[in-house]
Amino acid sequence: MTRSRVWCTLVVLAVASATLAAQRGQRGQQPTQTPRAMAPSDFTGYWVSVVTEDWRWRMVTPAKGDYDSVPLNPAGRRQADTWDPQRDDAAGEACRAYAAPAIMRVPGRIHVTWDGDTTLRIDTEAGTQTRLLRFGPRAADSATGAAAPTWQGDSVAAWELSGRGGGMFGGTPAKPSGALKVVTTRIRPGYLRKNGVPFSATATLTEYFNVLGPEDNGDRWLVVTTIVQDPQYLATRFFTSTHFKKLSDGSSWHPTACRAS
């Protein structure tokens, strides 16, 4: 190889390398994508719950003492046996069964929208509740305990990421799996079911949202896997999964007030 050929090769490689480095630099300088821009699926729109499960506990008010399927501990059962809907009404606590750990299970339509680029908002027909699923760190006042607990609590959202792999050549960049994870705390104590099956102020709610479809007939489904942990009233984690079918519009939207019974 002559010296001139070597220099030629070097120049070409140097230019290519510099270009590549510049591109990488540009990528690095790009502003971080907002959660809204990163959404792996379209969660927005009107959805209606399809009650093919737990009908007896959702479509009608269950009998007092009917807490079948819920892994209550003895304290939870004792608390459930004290249910008095008239007392709740009188105390202005009619929304106890519409709090975050229960609201997705209450039959009705929901409306999911973006509230800015970092908050997903869920409005419910049942009880006219609003959930705000905020991406990013917990709000400062909530983290310090300054804010009072609310029915819908303080929800922190994040897109689920797939694994990165490992080994010498196995690594790949993490990418969205398609699911939304939401962790909710600081929830005002309420009911998992309308008949007073309780959750306490220590409850933590973890949810996973998946959009499925379109199916062969065009249906799209929103599935919410709900996990409630409550050291005060539950013996184990409480699992439910709830499905909603997408609606073409909000023409049937009809919000209703909370009812204690």
């Binding site: 290519a16 590549l20 399809v50 009608v60 008010t61 009917d66 599935v223 999964s241 019974s261």
Partner: protein
């Protein structure tokens, strides 16, 4: 030893070349991205990387009966068709059903079908077949206490002819949608959508979506049946990873449970089984609600029946 100038230049060129090679796109091939099947015998780096799509469901999964426990474990009550989009034919057939049909020799060891088994009372094991060369997952397997091994093929093979035999597990193929495994099942033998006589025909098809969230498996199972359902019937069911679980053997032996004349099939004639109304009466529910139908699974049905407090206390069992 002093390196020559040429040697230095070559070393520099090599150093500059390495980043160019290292940062080549590692993306999957277009075929893999489209979910097309790949050769199972030829090594293809793009295929290997594409197989990173999806997630590993392998493990022992414990059912959690935090939904519909009375139906799933002890069993549903006669005449409880709440929230199921059945048609009149299904309703009539269910109301002629007698539980003692389970004592027939033909029924005693009958496994739950692929569409119902998720809702059954069994532990679940999932495992996979991996091609030794390409290291792709070629088949997922799911097996419950009372089921046959169910295979879900991932290699893009077509479903067989409509005239091919129908089985309890049916014929299933899967594909990835992000980290969700979507499965299409055909060729199911006739089965049931609830264990109280609600039938499901052998013309039904099943779509499943398997979703893994940490140690929780959620499966959406959607049954479409042109014979007995007026709308797709969806259920979502949760399992929790339990590495200490073991699916035990289920050696089922047919015995004579009831002394009856040969050829007798327990049943009621249409309109004669008053016991199908007992559930509604005991729970204080409107009879039209317990008769099911698509209307009963939508929230607006409550406007029709009004605000009711049930009288059922299943926990008394």
């Amino acid at each position: 030893m002093h390196p020559t100038r040429t040697g230095v230049l070559v070393a520099l060129a090599t150093a500059l070349t390495i980043p160019l090679v290292a940062f080549q796109d590692r993306g999957a091939s277009p075929a893999a991205a489209n979910g097309q099947s790949q050769s199972l015998v030829e090594y293809d780096d793009a295929v290997g990387r594409a197989s990173a799509n999806g997630v590993d469901f392998t493990g022992e999964w414990a059912p959690r009966f935090h939904e519909d426990e009375p139906e799933r474990v002890p069993g549903p009550e006669l005449g409880d068709y709440l929230g199921i989009p059945i048609n009149d034919a299904a309703r009539m057939r269910a109301m002629t059903w007698e539980a003692s049909i389970q004592t027939l020799a033909e029924w005693q060891c009958r496994p739950h079908s692929a569409d119902y088994i998720w809702r059954g009372p069994s532990p679940l094991r999932i495992w996979k077949d991996v091609d030794p060369v390409s290291r792709q997952v070629t088949t997922w397997h799911a097996e419950w206490l009372r089921s046959v091994d169910r295979s879900i093929y991932m290699d893009g093979r077509p479903h067989p002819s409509p005239n091919a035999p129908h089985t309890w597990a049916g014929f299933s193929t899967g594909r990835w949608e992000g980290d969700v495994l979507t499965i299409k099942t055909t060729h199911l033998k006739e089965g049931y959508v609830r264990r109280n006589g609600l039938p499901r025909s052998d013309q039904a098809t099943l779509t499943e979506h398997w979703m893994l969230h940490g140690d929780v498996l959620t499966v959406a199972a959607i049954t479409t049946d042109p014979v007995y359902l007026t709308e797709p019937f969806i259920r979502t069911t949760d399992y929790e990873l339990d590495l200490h679980q073991w699916v035990p053997p289920y050696p089922c032996q047919v015995v004579e449970e009831v002394d009856r004349r040969p050829g007798i099939v327990p049943h009621s004639l249409p309109g004669t089984n008053d016991a199908t109304s007992d559930f509604a009466a005991r729970c204080g529910l409107p009879i039209e609600a317990t008769r099911g139908g698509a209307e009963t699974m939508y929230p607006d049905f409550r406007d029709k029946i009004g605000f009711i407090t049930s009288k059922c206390i299943a926990a008394q069992r």
